[in-house]
């Protein structure tokens, strides 16, 4: 008995790693119309957010205000 959504906010049994594996296979074999597929960059960002998102956002929540000046500068 498991939940539908995992602790990483991914779908149980349809995780991002499984998608990455099939996308990799799709590079070498025709697997059909996937409307352009997931894209490596999108996959990378989502893998990061699913697996390392929590510590990242914890850091941001606790110390994010210190980055305000940097953000303002980047925005300019």
């Amino acid at each position: 008995m498991k939940r539908i959504v995992t602790a990483l906010y991914d779908l149980q049994g349809q995780g991002i790693f499984r998608l990455a594996r099939l996308a990799l296979l799709g590079k070498y074999l025709p697997i059909g119309n996937l409307q352009g597929g997931p894209g490596a960059r999108c996959l990378g960002v989502l893998l990061f957010l699913h697996y390392l998102g929590y510590p990242f956002y914890l850091l941001l929540a606790r110390h994010g205000h210190r980055l305000q000046a940097l953000r303002r500068r980047l925005r300019r």
Binding site: K2, R3, Q14, N33, L34, Q35, P38, L46, L58
Partner: protein, 704 residues
């Protein structure tokens, strides 16, 4: 360190104090609740912020809920002859709301807006003389329904509120929101926390908001609350932190890191779906996913039903609706027995997807191949194509099987067989011993024999009359165009059904909409008899969707209605009665066992319907938008399943009277073992098994 340990550590290190504000921020809900329970013990009043505190949204951006409402208004406008695109509606709404906020800002500190006021102005602007208060009520109702479908109560808060209520504390909900309190009450009621709350206060009613702190002063005065006895909980460091503290109210601020991660993911999925259509189905699933207390531990079958089959069936049903509206079809018949699931899904999903109505009528039609096969011969006789269908399953061998399927009495037909040197037991299927090509040639010649066909017509006339009477009683002839929705695969039921009614002058045009059309034998399309596979159609090259062939029985078993198959129709004085198959024999018992096994799977499918509809309505996506993701799911789940998935979803029994029970000749029917029939150890340990099957399937489709 495991993820759970890491979270616990974070909870332990929870507090970070704003030195200047003296407001404590908590980075997880358990941490806040721990502190909240201690602090509330000394207080008599506890107030809560509503959005992102008590209720969380499935979507990252609350403004996205406005989009389906704009679409709804645009459709309503179109229905009364006013052309106003949804983007224009949204633009107007934003402009009017902004102006209202600026006007409020001239009289009050806070720049608030009130939904009934700006929505009335918007609707008056679009509908002009056709505006009515009922229209405003209708739009408001849909907006609140959409809000409710996207909002989820945080279970731990609900439990805490119940505790506080039992302790006799006075509980308030305070929100800075354009919806007035009477609308917020509906959201709170839907969340199940309304009984605990003394009052719901919205800035839309008084234009005094938490953001300026004016709301707290007004509430304290109106309800006679003392700040020192008051604890406020919210998520905004200013509105829910600094402002109440300035008033002398103790405040707890929640900055939930888990929520930030979840919303960030939804945001990425949503943004990616804009530029990369592949992600559209994924964001749909992310919004469909249960949250908080909705997400209870479930069996693997339930999960597959919810995420895999539920999503695909939802897209299928949505496409059926779109197709029928486009073609002007006013009646849909969901064919038994798989149509039972599609109809139930339709009933749950369509009110959110098409709130303005205008959808075709729906009806569940009791049919089966066995019930219709005989009736189809009453006017055209037994055609070669129909006789060929009998010998597709290897369980059928000879003329006795033909008679069983077409409900023919064999004795009056024997003299006709003898004229063609055939006997009742002459093997007509190449899968059986004794078969000769000559037998089949003779049988084909028999089918062209006039006296044989006359006898077939005579025998099947009553079955046809009974079937037609039943169809009359359900209004099948009352429309010029009807849709027949079924799981698939050859379209045999529709073929027999159409042939049963084709002789009638009022025979409607039948638009067959199949989940998957594998078209093992050519379908007699044309004129009033049309067929289309929606998820998969062999006539439309879609390699990824063709993997449905890997395990098509699963879809059939998963969607099957919990009633026995129909054996036929019986004429009565007033019309026709349905005759169902008995359930106490081996096949009947096996079906019941299979149904019981797949019950959690079906429950998962039905539970997903409402959430699918809400997510699809919000995103505005349909099957073609999500085809890439759907194809990925099909390939991933059917062609590259895990051993555990095969073990769980693989059906125990798939039996059918149509298939017959004869044993084919050894060696003749043994093709490669399908992937879903491979032995568990092979599925678990064979490294190239799936790839080998996949390449075989690829070769098969290319050669097709």
């Amino acid at each position: 360190m495991g993820r759970q340990d890491f979270r616990e550590k974070c909870v332990a290190e929870r507090e970070s104090t704003y030195q200047t504000m003296n407001v404590t921020t908590y980075y997880s809900l358990p941490a806040l609740l721990l502190a909240g329970r201690q602090k509330a013990a000394e207080k008599t009043v506890v107030s809560f912020d509503l959005f992102d505190t008590l209720l969380i949204r499935r979507i990252h951006d609350p403004d996205l809920v406005k989009l389906p409402v704009a679409r709804y208004i645009a459709r309503l406008a179109r229905s009364v002859g006013v052309a106003c695109h949804q983007h224009r509606v949204q633009e107007l709404r934003d402009t009017i709301e902004k102006r209202h906020r600026l006007e409020t800002g001239q009289r009050f500190v806070d720049q608030e807006a009130c939904y009934p006021r700006f929505m009335e102005e918007l609707l008056r602007h679009i509908f002009a003389a056709q505006y009515s208060p009922e229209l405003l009520a209708q739009v408001t109702d849909y907006e609140l329904t959409m809000e409710n479908s996207m909002l989820v109560v945080r279970d731990p808060f609900k439990v805490w509120m119940e505790e506080l209520f039992r302790q006799g504390k006075r509980l308030f909900i305070i929100s800075d929101m354009y919806l007035p309190a009477m609308h917020l009450r509906r959201l709170v009621d839907h969340a199940g926390i309304e009984p605990y709350v003394e009052a719901v206060i919205s800035s839309a009613d008084t234009f005094l908001a938490k953001a300026s702190g004016k709301a707290f002063a007004m509430i304290a005065e109106k309800y006679g609350l003392a700040p020192q006895d008051w604890l406020h909980v919210g998520d905004n460091p200013i509105s829910d932190g600094l402002r109440p503290v300035e008033m002398g109210i103790e405040a707890l601020v929640l900055s939930d890191v888990g929520e930030a991660q979840r919303k960030s993911l939804v945001k990425r999925y949503y943004n990616y779906s804009d530029g990369k259509p592949f992600w559209r189905g994924r964001v749909l699933q992310q919004l469909m996913a249960p949250l908080e207390g909705e997400d209870r531990p479930q069996s693997s079958l339930y999960r597959e039903g919810y995420t895999f089959l539920g999503t695909i069936i939802g897209l299928f049903v949505q496409e059926v609706a779109r197709h029928c509206l486009e073609k002007g079809i006013r009646k849909i018949f969901f064919l038994s027995r798989e149509g039972w699931t599609f109809k139930r899904y339709w009933e749950q999903a369509m009110p959110l997807l098409y709130p303005e109505g205008g959808l075709p009528e729906i009806e569940y039609l009791y049919v089966s191949r066995m019930a219709l096969a005989g009736a189809s011969c009453a006017y055209q006789g037994l055609t070669k194509a129909n006789a060929d269908i009998v010998f597709l399953p290897t369980g059928n061998r000879d003329f006795r099987d033909v008679c069983r399927i077409f409900a023919l009495e064999i004795d009056p037909l024997l003299p006709h067989l003898q004229r063609y040197q055939l006997e009742a037991d002459s093997a007509l299927s190449p899968a059986h011993q004794g078969y000769t090509p000559n037998n089949r040639q003779m049988f084909d010649a028999l089918l062209e024999d006039r006296s044989f066909q006359e006898e077939v017509r005579r025998q099947t006339r009553i079955a046809n009359e009974a079937a037609v009477r039943y169809f009359e009683s359900v209004g099948l002839f009352a429309h010029d165009h009807i849709a027949l929705v079924d799981i698939g695969w050859l379209g045999t039921i529709q073929r027999f059904l159409f042939e049963t009614i084709a002789h009638r002058p009022d025979c409607p045009t039948c638009h067959g909409l199949l989940f998957g059309a594998t078209r093992g034998i050519p379908y007699p399309e044309g004129g009033k008899n049309l067929l289309r596979g929606i998820v998969y159609d062999r006539y439309r090259f879609d390699f990824a969707a063709s993997v449905i062939i890997y395990a098509q029985d699963i879809f059939e078993e998963a969607c099957r209605a919990p009633h026995p198959t129909l054996n036929g129709y019986r004429l009565t004085e007033t019309g026709a009665e349905l005759e169902f198959r008995k359930v106490d024999d081996d096949i009947g018992k096996a079906e019941v066992e299979q149904d019981n096994y797949f019950a959690p799977l079906q429950q998962g499918i039905f539970d997903s319907a409402g959430r699918f509809a809400a997510a699809a309505a919000l995103l505005g996506y349909q099957l073609e938008d999500c085809r890439g993701w759907m194809n990925y799911m099909l390939v991933s789940k059917l062609a590259f399943p895990t051993a555990r998935e095969v073990a769980d979803i693989r059906h125990l029994h798939h039996l059918d009277d149509f298939h017959g029970g004869r044993k084919p000749q050894a060696g003749l029917t043994l093709g490669p073992v399908p992937l879903w029939r491979e032995r568990p150890w092979k599925l678990k340990f064979h490294p190239w098994l799936r790839l080998r099957h996949f390449l075989g399937h690829l070769r098969g489709r290319i050669n097709q």
